[in-house]
Amino acid sequence: MNRPQQLLQLQDRLNRRVFLGGATGTLAAAVAGLGTGASAAHALPGLPHHPPKAKRIIYLFQSGAPSQMDLFDPKPALATRRGEELPESIRQGQRLTTMTSGQSSFPVAPSIFPFAQHGRSGMWFSDLVPGIASKADQWCMIRSMHTEAINHDPAITFFQTGSQLAGRPSIGAWASYGLGSENADLPAYLVLTSFGSGRPDDQPLYDRLWGTGFLPTEHQGVRFRNSGAPVLYLSDPPGIDRQTRRATLDRIAAINGRRAEIVGDPDIAARTSQYEMAFRMQTSVPDLVRISDEPKHVLEAYGPDVERPGSYAYNCLLARRLSERGVRFVQLFHMGWDHHGGLPDAIRGQCRDTDRATAALLDDLSARGLLDETLVVWGGEFGRTIYSQGGISDSSYGRDHHPRCFTTLLAGAGIKGGLTWGATDDYCYNVTTPDEHVHVHDLNATILHLMGIDHLRLTYPYQGRDFRLTDIHGEVVKGILA
């Protein structure tokens, strides 16, 4: 046996021992990879903390903040109060954004969309979302969500990282850090984005939403691109075929191996194994996005948009394909829900984008037996105000940001279907169920819980302190768990 191999074996033994005792190392994974031809990043020792209900998550983030009272939280008593002033007893002097704090009046704008009950559970939905409504008995509808931020950037950052300010790891990065990857050929955390047709210019997304903050950079979400190769630099240069690339990699490995003999650094083998994974990704990712192999009825279920890369429907189908391949955290961001004016037209567009595909995704996961082990989340960063921003008429109105209550939907692994959790007052302004209110930290604690993580115990030491996703807050919402 030559010297580098001896070194590797020593280091391997070392790391395995270390690993069992409580650490992970490039080398442990890398060396395992060399032996089996495939490797996947491991979970932290001791994780999962308890048997997970959800092996994977598909998080359908609706960026810009959908209007809860036009979709999920009907307020029929307001129908006759159009244009009346929002009572001070309801508003209670709460702070407003400076987009409406200067308004001299706060006229109530009841939703113009009819609501009906659906499913055995009789869950309420407006007629904007017939597809989502058809899955009433699978959803848990949380009407008592609330948050702290009143502007998009801090609010969506808060949702994703547990802090309104930049610098903390995103929820997917935490999951990747804690649980590792189940697929040797794909990253553990993938991000898919789409622009909405309801308001095509908003709201922007930021790298930090899937960033790692202070966690090691490899846990950052890999965002699929909507044109060209889905993963940056995935394609070989034009004119280079697979055999040629293979030969190049072999030469790199040969010279690296030679260098390893000279300098003796076992990390060189780790680099070679990363090149191998890169090579495998070059095959696995194109396979993944080749949706032409889907049966016709499946494509049809997602709607015509599914053929268009970068659409919400296409991303939903990819999400299923990724989940099927064991990708732990798939996060979609659909933009365009920020409807300060002209809400009815805009929200119709957004629902056209998302409703059918969301329903199809649940069906598709069920049909493949994946829904029982996949958590699906649907929601935005805050709610919208019952009072109109700007002019109001019988067919149009706008709504400003509202952090004090909004609706999020959950379905799938570990979730009690057909449950409506929490309630809001007659003006959809405040949560009225003290025992059933859900703060963003609570939702995040619950998501981690379903993935087998105790949110109190998944921590990372940084700047002398143990940080966690839920900061110093968060309680698992036990009442919604199956």
Binding site: R3, Q6, L10, V18, G21, G22, A23, G25, T26, A41, R95, S104, H152, D153, L165, A166, G167, S181, P187, P200, P204, D207, R208, T212, V222, R223, V231, L232, Y233, L234, S235, P237, P238, G239, I240, R245, T248, R251, I255, N256, R258, R259, G264, D265, P266, D267, I268, A270, R271, Q274, Y275, M277, A278, M281, G391, S393, D394, S396, L456, R465
Partner: protein, 1076 residues
């Protein structure tokens, strides 16, 4: 993707050391574990190394500095609080009597209700750790202050048995420890390796093959030192040093947050590069960046004075929120807190931000002290939102320091003179006002005879809508528009005109319940109306053609901003009235006037065309039309042009007026009529506008400035809208106190930070430089030297280095110049000339087992290069690098749509790469949008520059492999390197391979490497020969715009393509991305 061994390692290593290597019996508390085996000679317990980290990690959060959260009155971070008799009657620590100490019995309790720390905390104390505590208490529980908060004293340099190996005091510290462990250092690295190591560490660029050759050939004893001096003198030294500093300063080219529009604060970045290059001592480097604006001017040197203000950009590089709807004060507070946190993090290695909401849990910093620091940074004249520029269109935010070039300064002077001249003309006009006013009075005397209302409604008219709308006459003489609602429309109004003079035409818009969803003006919901053109003709009786009336003036009684009445005469989009805003819905009137009086014959018809043809859905719905026969120059939209009050005075003989009355006339003339003065004023205003516009184009720096003092308060739970007690500016008590009588301000803080007595600054800085050069800091937690810090692997060395950095007494000369205190170049030279730095990085199995993390430095470190250096090195090897220093940020190749896939906000959209030199400048000049940073840099662990980052991860991922293999710039670099191999390596293939190695790796290949690549060339050549098309495609793909013949160095495409793949292999070797 795999996880790099690292942060969890510490904990584990202890367990491993304990369980498996019985020969090293060492019970270290967690957190201090990775500092390597302790010197065998020291068998006792060191409080700071062994006990404090344990207490800090497990106990301080409930029994530490934070008085508000302290449990049971027990305080374990200092001896008095630890041994106080508690309410329960027990005593936490009884020095000398472990058995009687409550702390120990609670830690060892098996009762889950009693055991400490409580099980839910998840941080149990191990048996080994409890044993340590027992021994410590038994020995009298001696406390010492946290080592990093103690003044730096210079320790003795230890003796070593080997007297040959150590070249510098640094080496003696390292060797003494190795000897104690029975280990020995590696031999010196080869000259070639050293040449590359030094060059990459000091300039971030590889040495040229010629430099390596000369260095290898130079056998003089001073050769190495000379080489280091040469690299320290390189202008690229400042660039390399700046990379980590830009991370700490969160420097970027955009404002961050939602809109993330552009800013341009590169003058600050260039200041940093220049400061390193001119070797500004670190104390000055610090003071100027924190408080350069508060320093006295440098006598007779405006540039130097200005430069010190530019330096303060450090604390303006933070993000600024410009999202619509934000509450500015909330974000002003965040901005100020960002400054405090960044300053604390960068210079003190402390997470002061913890004290924003409560007293610090681990370090002696109270919440009150935090806001005392806050108040030092809060007087900046700023609002909390982006100021002085359009949020979406980008630009620097106030306060600014303009930085004009000489030519630009001359242009400013010219415009200032125009303003001064115009001012003079205005003043002159004022002096001669009296006769001019008298003359004007004569001309407007006829106005005195006019009735108050000069407008008469036109009744008998005919109306036509080109869009097919219909008109219904209402009782008040107005017309209501009904019927179809075309998107755009023009109303034609015809009326019989009374003969005589025509002074003006007036359109009056009225509200109606049928309009704008009830009570508005427009025919659409929105309620606003836009009239974009009004045309008037007079059609005489008989066959004579209609004559257009030339309109000279338009007036309205209300104009929406940006939609003035004058635009109905042409030149604008039209006149609008804010009718979409419910509170602006008032009757509005618009009048147009001929340039000169028009005489209307008998039986003539008036023709008015009101065009509403630009903005869809903005036609008005109810109106009246009037005309005036009064002299046009005497009337306005609301009646007689001269107001009634002025007319009343004018009726009085000028001699009989009171001074107030005369003043009224003069003021009216001056403000509303007076042509010469008004012209001068217009000229002056235009020049001012031009000057402002010009100033907007000037480069500027965002800087710190002291505005009016603002009160600061303790913010309850850190929330901007919950001010508590007012605080005065001040420094935390654990830092050196201010000199008596010295006012606490930013400058005092800066000077305190670099005082010789400050315990942290020098330790933090030298530790980070050690980390940069050796892969891990002497204190591994280089981001935090507070109570939770890991104990240093070589505490005496750290203090010796910190002391010498501050004092400069033992630092070497650089290029013959004696070292000064805080001399950064001399400090680097000290480290780089040490034997420990110069050793080979070869990993021996024995030392790997003994010291896997290389904390004892029995070998030189192999460290992965930062992303910037990886790219710069490739460009340099390829001969593509454009080495210019500084200037505005550039746009190299980035993936298509890099800014557009997730945002349609702000002005940083539609990324277009430069085609000129910007394509191949050093990576630190690449434009940096915070919410969508340069993708390749992010893949190589660059932070996104949203907040202060003082430590980067060093990961190894498949995405890095993909970028080195396929990214366009690396492809272009491979082609550039291939060209140089062919052109510079001679005709022999082995020679070409050798050239490629020397350019990229600084060494020649060995026989096996040559053989591998020669075989590769043959194989690839035959693949490409079989398919020449693919070779051509490949070669064209990275040609960087060069003609293919030039791009292929004269070789046939299939031959050249094969060479490109050789270069591709070289640029993907592990050795290429590592600094060996």
């Amino acid at each position: 993707m795999t996880r790099r061994k690292g942060d969890r390692w510490a904990r584990v290593h202890a367990a491993w050391a304990f369980c498996t290597l019985a020969s090293i019996v060492w019970l270290a508390p967690t957190g201090a574990a990775e500092t390597g085996p302790p010197p065998a000679a020291v068998a006792g317990i060191d409080f700071n190394r062994d006990i404090r980290p344990l207490l800090s990690d497990r106990c301080f959060s409930c029994h530490g500095p934070d008085a508000a959260k302290r449990q049971a009155g027990l305080r374990l971070d200092e001896p008095t609080g630890a041994s106080v008799v508690l309410g329960s009657g027990s005593q936490g620590v009884v020095p000398g009597d472990a058995g009687a100490s409550g702390v120990l019995s609670r830690i060892e309790s098996t009762d889950s209700d009693l055991v400490m720390p409580p099980p839910h905390v998840g941080k149990p104390v191990t048996a080994a750790e409890a044993e340590l505590l027992r021994r410590w208490i038994a020995a009298g529980a001696p406390y010492r202050g946290h080592w990093a908060f103690e003044r730096v004293e210079r320790p003795e340099v230890p003796q070593t048995r080997d007297l040959q190996w150590p070249r510098t005091p640094v080496d003696r510290f390292i060797l003494a420890r190795l000897e104690a462990e029975g280990m020995s250092p590696n031999a010196e690295a080869s000259r070639e390796v050293l040449a590359r190591r030094v060059s990459l560490d000091l300039t971030g660029l590889p040495p040229t093959p010629e430099e390596v050759e000369a260095f290898v050939a130079d056998r003089s004893p001073e050769a190495y030192e000379r080489y280091v001096d040469q690299k320290l003198a390189s202008p690229h030294y400042g660039e390399r040093m700046a990379i980590e500093w830009l991370d700490a300063a969160r420097y970027a080219d955009s404002h961050g947050y939602q809109t993330d529009s552009s800013r341009s604060n590169w003058p600050w970045r260039d200041w940093v590069i220049a400061a390193y290059n001119r070797n500004l001592p670190f104390d000055q480097f610090t003071i100027q960046q924190i408080a350069g604006d508060m320093l006295p001017a440098v006598p007779g040197d405006e540039v130097a004075t200005r430069d010190r203000v530019v330096a303060t950009g450090f604390n303006r590089n933070h993000r600024i929120n410009g999202e619509g709807g934000i509450i500015a004060e909330e974000w002003r507070v965040e901005t100020v807190i960002d400054r405090v946190e960044t300053t604390g993090q960068t210079w003190l290695g402390l997470s002061v931000g913890c004290a924003r909401c409560h007293d610090h849990k681990y370090d002696p910093l109270t919440q009150r002290e935090f806001y005392a620091l806050f108040s030092l940074f809060c007087n900046v004249p700023e609002t909390g939102t982006i100021m002085g520029s359009e949020t979406r269109s980008g630009g620097n935010s106030d306060p600014l320091l303009p930085l004009p070039s000489a030519e630009q300064s001359a242009e400013i002077a010219r415009l200032e003179k125009v303003i001064a001249d115009a001012d003079e003309a205005v003043r002159a006009g004022e002096k001669d006002l009296e006769p001019i006013v008298a003359e004007w009075e004569r001309t407007i005397r006829p106005a005195l005879d006019l009735p108050d209302d000069v407008w008469q409604t036109l009744d008998t008219i005919e109306l036509k809508s080109l869009g097919g709308a219909t008109f219904r006459r209402l009782d008040d003489g107005s017309w209501l528009v009904e019927g179809p609602k075309p998107a755009l429309d023009t109303y034609q109004i015809e009326a019989i005109l009374p003969p005589g003079p025509l002074g003006g035409i007036r359109l009056e818009l009225l509200a109606d319940p049928s309009l704008s969803g009830g009570g508005g003006f427009g025919r659409n919901h929105n309620g606003n109306v836009v009239v974009n053109r009004v045309e008037v003709e007079i059609d005489p009786p008989g066959d004579a053609p209609a004559v257009a009336v030339v309109l000279g003036r338009a007036e309205a009684d209300y104009e929406q901003a940006g939609w003035p009445a004058t635009s109905v005469l042409g030149g604008g989009q039209g006149w609008a009235i804010d009718g979409h805003l419910p509170d602006k819905r008032q009757p509005r009137r618009l009048a147009v006037f001929p340039t000169a009086a028009v005489d209307v014959p008998e039986n003539a018809r008036l023709l008015i065309r009101v065009r509403q043809e630009v903005i869809e859905g903005h036609a008005f719905g109810r109106f009246r039309v009037a005309r005036s026969a009064a002299p046009t120059e005497l009337i306005g939209v609301s009646g007689v042009a001269v107001p009634a009050a002025v007319r009343d005075v004018l009726r009085i003989e000028s001699g009989a007026r009171t001074p107030q009355q005369q003043q009224l006339v003069t003021a009216y003339y001056r403000d509303k009529v007076g042509t010469p003065t008004k012209q001068a004023e217009a000229a002056r205003d235009a020049a001012r506008k031009a000057l402002d516009a010009f100033r907007d184009t000037l480069p500027s720096a965002m800087v710190m400035r002291e505005g009016p003092p603002r009160d600061a308060f303790v913010l309850t739970r850190g929330e901007y809208d919950k001010p508590g007690e007012k605080v005065e500016p001040g420094l935390p008590a654990f830092l050196p106190p201010l000199p008596p009588g010295r006012k606490a301000d930013r400058l005092a803080l800066a000077e305190g930070i670099v005082s010789r007595d400050h315990p942290l600054t020098a330790r933090v800085w030298v530790n980070r430089q050690w980390e940069r050069l050796f892969g891990t800091g002497l204190v591994k937690t280089s981001e935090n030297l507070g109570s939770q810090a890991e104990y240093p692997s070589h505490p005496e060395l750290l203090d010796w280095l910190a002391a010498d950095f501050m004092e400069g007494t033992q630092l070497p000369q650089v290029s013959g110049l004696p070292a000064r205190p805080w001399d950064m170049k001399a400090f680097f030279k000290l480290l780089l000339t040490s034997s420990v730095y110069r050793q080979s990085s070869r990993v021996e199995a024995g030392t790997l087992a003994r010291d896997p993390a290389n904390r004892l430095l029995a070998r030189g470190p192999r460290v992965r290069l930062p992303g910037e250096v990886v790219r710069d090195q490739a460009l340099a090897a390829a001969g593509l690098l454009v080495p210019a220093i500084g200037g505005p940020s550039v746009r190299p190749w980035m993936p298509e749509g890099v800014w557009d896939e997730t945002s349609k906000y702000g002005n940083l959209r539609g990324y277009v790469a430069d085609t000129g030199p910007g394509r191949f400048r050093r990576s630190m000049y690449t434009i940096w949008k915070r919410t969508a940073g340069p993708p390749t840099m992010l893949l190589f662990d660059a932070p996104n520059r949203e907040t202060c980052t003082v430590k980067r991860s060093r990961t190894n991922t498949p995405l890095q492999a993909l970028s080195l293999l396929n990214e366009t710039t690396f492809l272009e670099a491979a082609q550039g390197l291939a060209r140089r191999m062919v052109a510079e390596g001679g005709a022999d293939p082995a020679g070409r391979i050798g050239r490629g190695f020397r350019l990229a790796l600084g060494r020649g290949p060995d026989a096996a490497e040559v053989e591998t690549l020669l075989a590769g060339i043959q194989a690839d050549r035959s693949v490409f020969s079989a398919d020449p098309k693919s070779a051509e495609t490949f070669v064209a793909a990275g040609a960087a715009g060069k003609p293919v013949a030039e791009a292929t160095a004269g070789l046939p495409a299939e031959e050249f393509a094969a060479w490109c793949l050789v270069a591709n292999v070289i640029l993907n070797l592990d050795e290429f991305v590592m600094r060996e």
